[in-house]
Each structure stands twice: as C-alpha cells, then as structure tokens.
Symmetry: C2
Subunit: 246 residues, 2 copies
Amino acid sequence: MTQSVIELLKQHRSIRKFTDQPVPQDCVEQLIEAGQAAATSSFIQACTVIQVNDPTKRTALASYAGNQAYVASAPVFLVFCADMHRHQRICEWHQAEMLSGFTEQFITATVDCALFAQNSAIAAESLGMGVVYIGGLRNQIEQVSELLQLPELVYPVFGMCIGYPDQNPEIKPRLPLSVVLKQDVYEDKQDLAAIEAYDEAVRHYYQTRTGGKKVMGWSDQISAMLVKEARPHMLDYLQGQGFLKR
Amino acid sequence: MTQSVIELLKQHRSIRKFTDQPVPQDCVEQLIEAGQAAATSSFIQACTVIQVNDPTKRTALASYAGNQAYVASAPVFLVFCADMHRHQRICEWHQAEMLSGFTEQFITATVDCALFAQNSAIAAESLGMGVVYIGGLRNQIEQVSELLQLPELVYPVFGMCIGYPDQNPEIKPRLPLSVVLKQDVYEDKQDLAAIEAYDEAVRHYYQTRTGGKKVMGWSDQISAMLVKEARPHMLDYLQGQGFLKR
C-alpha cells in the first residue's frame, strides 16, 4: 500500500452502483471485526449488525428506504442497530435490575454504532470496495424493525450497502475548515461569509456532475430541507422501543 | 506503509498517557479534514469541533469530565459538537423558517459527529498518534457548554485527547462475532452462552493488565453499571439546547 490512510479517508464518496463481483463472507466478517475494534463508551459494545441476504427482505427494505434500488441489489447490505437488549438480558441473567430509557444510554448506543460502522466503511474502502450509508431506513423504521424482528431496546440506526464500485463519482466539497474548527470557544461571526464562498464551490460541483441539471449551493439545499418536518414519527417509535423515556 | 488499514483499525486501544512531543497545528487540521471527509446524512455537515488550548479551560474540562487529568495535559484536546445552530443561521439568512427540535435531527447530528470523529481518530492513529474519547464531558455538560459558549442547537457529544503514546496498553478483547453479527433477523438464543465464554477472555485480559487487581468479566461489569442511573440530567439539558422536543 503506497496510499496513506488519510488519502484513503479523503477519497470517500458514496457508491450506489456496484459490479457483480461478490464479497466473500469472510471478507464481510473482517469488516465487522474492524468495526468492533472501534472505541466503545464504557466498554458497552452496544452495536449489533444484521446482514440481510434474503431477497424478499432486501426488496422490502429498498422500498421502506424510499425506493433506493441499490439496497436490494448491492452485494452486501448491513443494518447497524443500537442494541441495549443484550444488556437487558445480561442484567436479568445476573439478577440485576437494569435502569433503562435514559437519553444518555440512547446517545452512547447510537454513537457506538456510528463509530463501529465508520470503521467497517473504512475497512471496506481500504479493500477497494465502496459503501453508502442508508439513513432512509428511518423513513419506515417501524416496518424495518418488524421485518428484522428487532426486540425492545434495539433500533436500526442506518443501513449500509457494500460492494465493488461500478461508478466513479466526484468527491463532494466540504465546508471550509474555519467553519468547522473553532479555537477555545464557539465563535461564528465569519461563518456566513465563508459559507457564501463555499456555496459557489458546491454549485460548481453539481454543475460538473449533473451537467447543469441540479445547480444548488449548500446553504439553499439545507434551508429548503429544514423547513420540512424531519421524520416526525421518530420519538414515538423510539419510546415504543424503550428509548428516550427520561 | 506496509501495515494494512484493517490491521491499523484492529490495533486501536485508548491512549491516556502522552509524550511531550507536540502535535503541529497543520497536523491537527489534517485530522479535521479527514473527519470532514466522512459521510454526512443528507449532506447536513452537522459537526463542529472546538479545539481547546487555553490551560484554564483545559483544567476545568478535566474536572468536569470526572477528574481525567489527561484532558488537561494531552497535547491536543478536541470537543466534537453536534451543531444545528449553523443551520438555523442559514435558514434565517435565507428567510426560511427552520423546524427544529425533531428527534430525527438529533440522531443525524449525533451520528454525523461520530463518523467525523472516528475518521479523525483513525487519521491520528495512522500518523502514529494515540487517542481517547472523553464521554465524561457529558457528566457536567451544562458547565462544559457554558465554558465553550455553545449556543442553542449545539451540544458537546464527546471530547478527544490526541498525542503521541507514552504507554502501550493491550488491546481489549471484543464480543464474539456471533453475538454482534446476525443473519436476516435478530436472533439471540445462543448469545448468553457465547458471552459466558467471552467473560473468561475479559477476566484474563484484566488479570494480565492489572496484575490481578481488577478481575471482572464483561457481563458483570455491564450489569453493575446498568443498575445505576445514566446521567439523568441529559434530557433536560438537551431540550434546553433545543433538541429532542418532538
């Protein structure tokens, strides 16, 4: 390997089109083991991955995610679940009464999952594969949970398609460093000016990539998105699963 | 680089003791840029990092985090914040009315932060540095927020100490693969037996590492932790910051 790890990280872009080349199961297991190696809050290890192979389930998930066909067709599809059910069973086993439903536990389990998944994503990319996170699973999260038979205290944070890339999209430009890195205190006086310049770079990116069909900056996309409700079913669903009760 | 990326990921362990070797600022910026390259939900880019240099602030943070001295002494200390304040300002700028407070937005911002931070952590480790996540910042999260002057719709998810390792701890064994990777559905009938065997491996790890002072398995640690309240102030604090209101 001559490429540096930082180069690899900076070359990330979502891959939504994959070749037919299969990903052997021992390779999937390597990605999971790489995920497990990530830091875990107080050693809680609250991530469980469900690998979905069954074509009927895949088709259903693709539809639940808002008709993202690659969820059905990708060589590998993983669902990363925040899991405190395991811990509940352990407490019962040790005859200890688990205090659940704390927002803090929701944060640690969700963060655990994200760190785990990001390690798996990087591991896949280091082997020449491409990935895309599927947050769209949260569109119909109740149906996803039923399909995967998720018990209480488990929720699907996101999915991930994995395979060998059959496309080569450009890397999307990110916010200027001055906007995301602050010194000692949160200070954002100069941010809007920097974002205005960044909007130009984003417009240029879309112009190049879509041949002028979608030409938007970043801030106009964001503001258009945020005037809408964001999956308003989420809190009810999560409380139903035993999370975020206090 | 002869070491594979997966090898690098699997060698992670938290580093809490650092040499005096400074980390140049352009190196810190590289870690942040690596973080920015991570996937971001709907391009929302909801992570802001506050690099804390001021020794007085560092000492305060070390105390807030439950007297973790390395928070004060590490060459670099970063606070990863989930940030929707930026988006609120953008909406105002575009004269759009942002609908905030959705649990979904809390999830995407928190996950964004975690993916970002994990990239930064891996980038640091790839350069021979070591890191430790500091979830303890959430112990006194209100005070941390005041100290860093965090506005509404920003919360510190965790901190991270970064520097060159002055210790070489063993890698902590992780749960058996069969416990964390499921096929098609959530199915845990065999898990407790696998966890019982894993407890032995964890006990052995502590025996080796602590010379017999702390000898616990995994499941007994977890159950002892979960009979206690988990930062019960968190929901009030987050709602005060404008999160998790619906």
